[in-house]
Assembly symmetry: C2
Homo-oligomer: 213 residues x 2
């Protein structure tokens, strides 16, 4: 028998583009019913296919969840990067800088509460059996770079205190994450959570300012 070069997957045309349909179904289940609804059978059924349909497109359950994880960081990065940043008008620089920082904080919160399922998947290990691969984690850390750059920018402009911008960026991130995650899981007695978030970020940056009050 003659040996035949296998037909490459990309050369075949699928009847329907199943992979996006599966991802969409998974995201929908995660958003509407939470992590425990994320089962292979339910994802497959939502996309109108047998469980094997998932295994044909992804390695296993972790595979499809990792795809959600990665897409989440892409969307997150887009959201954060959409926040305007001051150019450098000299006069009200500090004021404008802090305004854009506040806007970033509020954008962070907005992403978290509008995509709680994805947010928990990204930052809160909400699917116990899922651990992202090293590669996916590296991709996730890319968005952190944007934050670090903006911290470093504030330091160069003599607005923020000196120090490792990565470490200070992590302080900012931890602060936003703390408030957002407590809000998502509903651990708060506050009525105006949005204002609380704003005040928290403002307090942190008050402590990060180079100049005295």
């Amino acid at each position: 028998m003659k040996k035949v070069t296998p037909v490459k997957k990309c050369e075949r045309i699928a009847a329907v583009d199943l992979e996006p349909a599966l991802l969409l179904a998974a995201k929908k289940l995660l958003t509407e019913e939470g992590p425990s609804a994320l089962s292979i059978r339910r994802i497959a059924a939502s996309a109108g296919v047998a469980p094997m349909g998932v295994y044909n497109r992804f390695k296993n359950k972790s595979g499809i969840i990792e795809a959600l994880f990665r897409q989440g960081f892409v969307d997150f990065d887009a959201a954060m990067s959409s926040v305007e940043f001051p150019i450098g008008t000299e006069k009200n620089l500090q004021k404008e800088y802090l305004k854009s920082i506040e806007a970033m904080g509020m954008k962070y919160r907005e992403f978290a509460i509008q995509n709680p399922g994805i947010y928990q998947l990204m930052f809160m290990k909400s699917v116990p059996e899922f651990a992202p691969t090293i590669d996916a984690v590296a991709g996730a850390f890319n968005c952190f770079g944007t934050l670090v750059e903006r911290v470093a920018w504030g330091q160069r402009a003599k607005i923020l205190i000196a120090g490792d911008p990565v470490e200070i960026g992590q302080r900012v991130w931890a602060t936003c994450h703390g408030a957002a995650s407590l809000e998502i899981v509903g651990i708060t007695k506050l009525l105006d959570v949005e204002n609380h978030f704003r005040m928290l970020v403002a307090t942190l940056f008050q402590g990060l300012l180079r100049e005295s009050k």
Copy 2:
């Protein structure tokens, strides 16, 4: 046949005190293998009993998890309350106050990283199918009262800025939780995470101080 008053459960003497054994087994599984190891069958087997042994002591899986949840907050409260608080020596009051705040923060982190399974159960919805009852949540909020009191104390001593102590307490909590939870799930590039935690709390309180720098 004569109607007999049922024997009350508390009057019976169990062969072994199974309930604590089950809770201990559950805690051990959670700590050593994570939330996905928390199955009725494994808990029961660890305690040397059939699955029904769990249902005889607790309503269902949520029941035994809620017991872990409640015990977690008791332990947490004990840890936090163990931190010394300044009496009021007038002279170095602010310094001592901030020192005790730092100690509380570090105690918070210590609890989280020494009991990551329990911490995630308490604050991070790590068991998707478990939601604490209203009663359990109310108990959980008790520990928050300690923090609020200490914030209010700092306000009365003119150390901290004015404002709703509950809201400000939540700022402190969110900050500690953000750093601790990111550390637990391993989302950080920092080498000295302990120092980062310390600096973060210090930064927040720098922003909460009434006096200028």
